[in-house]
Assembly symmetry: none
Homo-oligomer: 201 residues x 4
Amino acid sequence: MGKAADNKQQKRDALLNTAFSLFTTKGLHNTSISDIVEQAGVAKGTFYLYFKDKYDINNKLVVHRATMLFDAAMARMKEHDLKDCREKLLFIIDDIIDALTENKLLLMFISKNLGLGFFRFTVENAGITEHPTIHNAYQVFVDEIGDTVQDPKLMLYLIIELIGGSIYSSILYEQPVSITELKPHLYKTINGIIDQFSSGS
Amino acid sequence: MGKAADNKQQKRDALLNTAFSLFTTKGLHNTSISDIVEQAGVAKGTFYLYFKDKYDINNKLVVHRATMLFDAAMARMKEHDLKDCREKLLFIIDDIIDALTENKLLLMFISKNLGLGFFRFTVENAGITEHPTIHNAYQVFVDEIGDTVQDPKLMLYLIIELIGGSIYSSILYEQPVSITELKPHLYKTINGIIDQFSSGS
Amino acid sequence: MGKAADNKQQKRDALLNTAFSLFTTKGLHNTSISDIVEQAGVAKGTFYLYFKDKYDINNKLVVHRATMLFDAAMARMKEHDLKDCREKLLFIIDDIIDALTENKLLLMFISKNLGLGFFRFTVENAGITEHPTIHNAYQVFVDEIGDTVQDPKLMLYLIIELIGGSIYSSILYEQPVSITELKPHLYKTINGIIDQFSSGS
Amino acid sequence: MGKAADNKQQKRDALLNTAFSLFTTKGLHNTSISDIVEQAGVAKGTFYLYFKDKYDINNKLVVHRATMLFDAAMARMKEHDLKDCREKLLFIIDDIIDALTENKLLLMFISKNLGLGFFRFTVENAGITEHPTIHNAYQVFVDEIGDTVQDPKLMLYLIIELIGGSIYSSILYEQPVSITELKPHLYKTINGIIDQFSSGS
DNA sequence: TATGAATGAGGGTTCATTCAT
DNA sequence: CATGAATGAACCCTCATTCAT
């Protein structure tokens, strides 16, 4: 793991960070690979050593950033002393929604693909400088609620997609209501979903 | 409404239909305006008489097709004798899910923008050969459930986004479960949402 | 056939002439489409309205120039009063060899594809501002010698390929002998071939 | 001739064989040095230790393979008891034509450069793992027919170029006639050429 | 209104070549 | 000798857009 390997990772990260910055500010469509490499300070050809094309790096970034969002929320959750799983889940959800409300560019970037950071199906391994701490926020939860809930994966899926779908327009356009107004209804619905999967139905 | 106007509408429709066909099969990114006009049988310049660019026609199409989906479901619903509003809503949802399961290309096209066919915020007037009959599936529902439910718009919003978010990966990739397995849970959740908004909470 | 059509042909011809000039001086490999359009004074995209790529225009040019060579030789032949077909054929061959000896760049360009100007199989219609006078030098000959020679096409084919193959290195590198030395032997061989096909063998 | 030298030769041969395989299947133009080194299993930089560029290795290959063709024909000829030089020559020609008919990729590769395997002018020393057995098929013939034929080199030159030019389109496109039909006429012509150079003209 | 030839900037991509290891 | 990551010039080609007809 000499200087070369370090340098290699450095370039890859520079490309990822620059791409994220440009995609969020100018949009995927208005960002060219020329833009990315120029700002990242690497040669054009170097891009193609690491990524297939613009869409490849974009996919990897969506997964990466959504994962980071969950990881950060998990970390903050652990600093609190929450008594049960439901509380933990709601804490994380609230934390993520707040984070996205603060960072609208990130919200637009992740768009409705929140699920990609939680689960990992559909898009294969992102291959990004993985901090091998929490591979999978989802796994952590399933482990904890596995016994009290039947089909925890499905439950979490419904919750995540409900959130991913509804906060987008609420935060960005305050449509149909602002996020502040949305939250109580949203959390009530989420509680309802948890009940539904918890009761011995 | 002379021959000229007819011809005009004809060209516009040809462009819309061709664009839809190409977008769904080749994708927005791989379809050029040249492709569209060539297959539609009109001249390049003509495109710009009707649409600003590729993204303009795409937006109009998403709204258009999502609206058609709701209109068709509404029409089929009226052929049945459903007793209350909840039944009607669930019928429509089921009809739409079935339609999208049958037509995966349409599902991919509408993606998670199902809401655009139901509500009309975010994207301005689509300006498509509107049959001015049913302007808005949403309006119809609000009128019917307005008295029994407080904040019907919000309720419908949550339901629609939940559906739009969760069926996508289920139908296309059978992840995390197939649409057949998803449905019962989904409908139970929807019923829960309706309860939540109906009870005098 | 207005100004537009004229202009169109003009651009096409400009591209063909420029390409020929560049291919012969710099070589196909060292000539870029940018070079061609720049020197021809048309836009880059215009090239692609008329030709598929560099190789397409090259093929069309080879056929075109080889045809021109034959046409010119035919024209000069008609100015002389030659008594029979054999004399005519030998006149044309001599004329072409002289022309190629004078114009080594043209020789290198046509290379060993002399036959493409005489016959037209393998490469389809070149689509070049055809002077519709002599479509096909070969046809003219077959008409004249058809009765005295069986299988005139084959005979001409062997003769043309023999010439095309042997003069190249002789003219360019004087290997194995100079063209002056080669000629008598070559013509004797050609006469031999004509004899072979003429005798009631 | 230690292990190092062996290894060296091994890499060189791997590059040559891979290049030949790629040139014949994908064409010179569509084969990159990257392709070659990747498939040969050596590093990019290694290529430049042995060859100047793509065209360098191609030239060496054309000569190499054309030579191999003649060598193989010569070897097979020696297994037969042929009485005179004319018979030997015709045997070799027939053998080569058959070989090229069987192996159309090789024919396309050698194209009309058959002469390069027989004579060695124009392209300088190929520098290929030369088995120093038969340096030159041509030399062998000249030694044998030197006394009965004046200017044997020229005679062989004409014959080889006639063959090289005429079989190409005949084998690949059956134009103007199939190789089976071409052969009798071709051999008659060759015999004519031999006569022409043998008679005390 | 409708056309479609012409544009030309700039997109993505390749690839021969270098050089520190 | 051998490597292969990095380079960046230069490539081909697309395509949205214009405008004279």
